[in-house]
């Protein structure tokens, strides 16, 4: 088997395991999807909260920033005592990891909305909630979407590490490949993961363009 070159190895492994690859990809997507879903909801929520309660901004942004500095593998490890081994732990860790870009971009996006526009909105009698929904969020959308895109791409990469804590996903093949010394097997996990990241990147770029209000383009 070792006489085969890396491409032949890859083809051989793919033929043998293609159904496993499909299943792992589906698990991988689920990990990314659910962790991102929670991160988007909470991240945008927290981002909005700290524009309204400026005192919290240092704590929240600082906290999310610290989360980001913890090596991903270590973060996954920290989660085990809390959530045990498996999918939940992976989702929790990935969620924490994706939080910072979303919070930060939501916060800056809203803060960067022209002060005059907000003053005019208030001066015309919009309530704080109306200012948020009709002015601040629509104008901050491009920035928020950019945060989500960054988080998603990081997330796809980091999700391969979830295999270490038994959550499955495309990381399984990579670690199996490393431990067995089969390079083709590593590619079998790495290539779909890379493709996923690229697809997500393209998807969010379009989404960003599509959600940008007409007058801002």
């Amino acid at each position: 088997m070792n006489n085969l070159n890396i491409w032949e190895q890859f083809m051989q492994q793919a033929e043998m395991r293609w159904s496993e690859v499909l299943e792992a990809t589906s698990v991988h997507i689920q990990l990314v999807f659910f962790s991102m879903l929670i991160a988007i909801v909470l991240g945008i929520g927290l981002g909005i909260l700290i524009t309204r309660v400026p005192k919290l901004s240092t704590v929240v942004l600082g906290g999310a920033g610290i989360m980001q500095t913890i090596p991903s593998l270590a973060l996954l490890g920290f989660m085990i005592p809390i959530f045990g081994i498996g999918v939940n732990t992976a989702i929790a860790a990935l969620f924490l990891y994706s939080l910072l870009p979303i919070i930060r971009n939501t916060y800056t996006g809203i803060k960067d909305v022209n002060k005059a526009t907000v003053e005019a909105a208030k001066g015309m009698g919009m309530t704080s909630l109306q200012v948020l929904i009709k002015v601040e969020l629509p104008l901050a959308i491009p920035m928020i979407m950019a945060g989500v895109r960054t988080a998603a791409v990081i997330n796809v990469g980091t999700a391969t590490l979830a295999a270490f804590i038994g959550a499955g996903g495309l990381g399984d093949f990579i670690f199996l490949g490393i431990t067995r010394g089969i390079d083709g097997l590593i590619l079998l996990g790495a290539i779909p993961a890379a493709l996923l990241a690229i697809i997500l990147e393209i998807f969010f770029t379009y989404l960003e363009r599509w959600t940008t209000p007409e007058g801002l383009k």
């Binding site: 022209n114 003053e119 909105a121 015309m124 009698g125 919009m126 007058g215 801002l216």
Partner: protein, 378 residues
Amino acid sequence: MIKFEHVSKVYTDGFKAVDSVSFEVPEGEFLVLIGPSGSGKSTTMKMINRMIPHTNGTISIDGKDITKLNPSELRRNIGYVIQQIGLFPHYTIEKNIAIVPELKGWDKEKIKDRVKELLIMVDLDPEVYGSRYPKELSGGQQQRVGVARALASDPRVLLMDEPFGALDPITRDQLQDQLITLQRKLKKTIVFVTHDMDEALKLGDRIAIMKDGNLLQIDTPEKILQEPASNFVEEFIGKDRIIQNPELMPVVSVMTTRVVTSLLNLSPEKALLMMRQQKITSLIIENDLDDSFIGLISAYELIKKMNSIQSIEEILIVPEHTLTITATAKDAIMMMPSVKYGVIPVLNEAKKVVGIVTRGTLLTALSSQWTELEGINE
């Protein structure tokens, strides 16, 4: 009507932005708040719609204390125009103007009609501009939309915070003229903040001058120029202001009271002698009963026709144009070209001549103002 009673704004650090200010703005008045930066003029204006909450005293609109009203409700009934315009970049022009009517829950048809009406009112073609976005418009056009937006729900009170301050001088002038025309039609109660005295004199029914949070003087433009309440006011309005605004200069300041009068029974010879001796070119003829003005005799006419007339009545000129004592220097300047022999009599209530304006007196008065000004500038 807007009423301020001992209104102050004291910040938590103790800074008094506005210090116990009291004044009233009657319905339909155009009040201009003016002062150097940090004088509290903008703060004073923004306290009216509670964009800045006041800390002491009472502000009421039509007798209602504004702190008793819901701030959003209050603001929806007060037009608000700011220097940075603040149009929503993600809304079309139509949608921008429709903001307040939509907040107030008007129905779609009514809003559509109103938006069209307003765009026409501010000289923007609804077909061309209605569906554009703010960034596609020039600064002047954007502020016209800003004014239209503030007028959308037909509020009775309009607050304008240096609305034309960021525009180039020509556009500013156009928008000021347009605002004057609009105000003549709409009769809103307007509180307008500026630091530009020319703008204040041009627009204001009354001008309120502020400094360090205090209201120094609130008066008509004429009163402010003629009777400044303090040295600061005088300095602030500037010595050169009057000459630039002859409409604010009383006719009395450009006329001469050296008037020679006579009765109609004077003989032509004596009249000529009298004018030669007094070195004057026109003689004012009065009624012998009540000294009221009848007409005047021109020395040139008299010399020309000396030999052919029996009495001065034959060459008596009864001028079509006279000025009353309440007229302004501008009236005199405007009238001068159409006046025969260049003499305008100025009459009091009893039709008695109190003085005359000639080209000479006009020139002397205006040039003396000018040379005085030169002296100050040096």
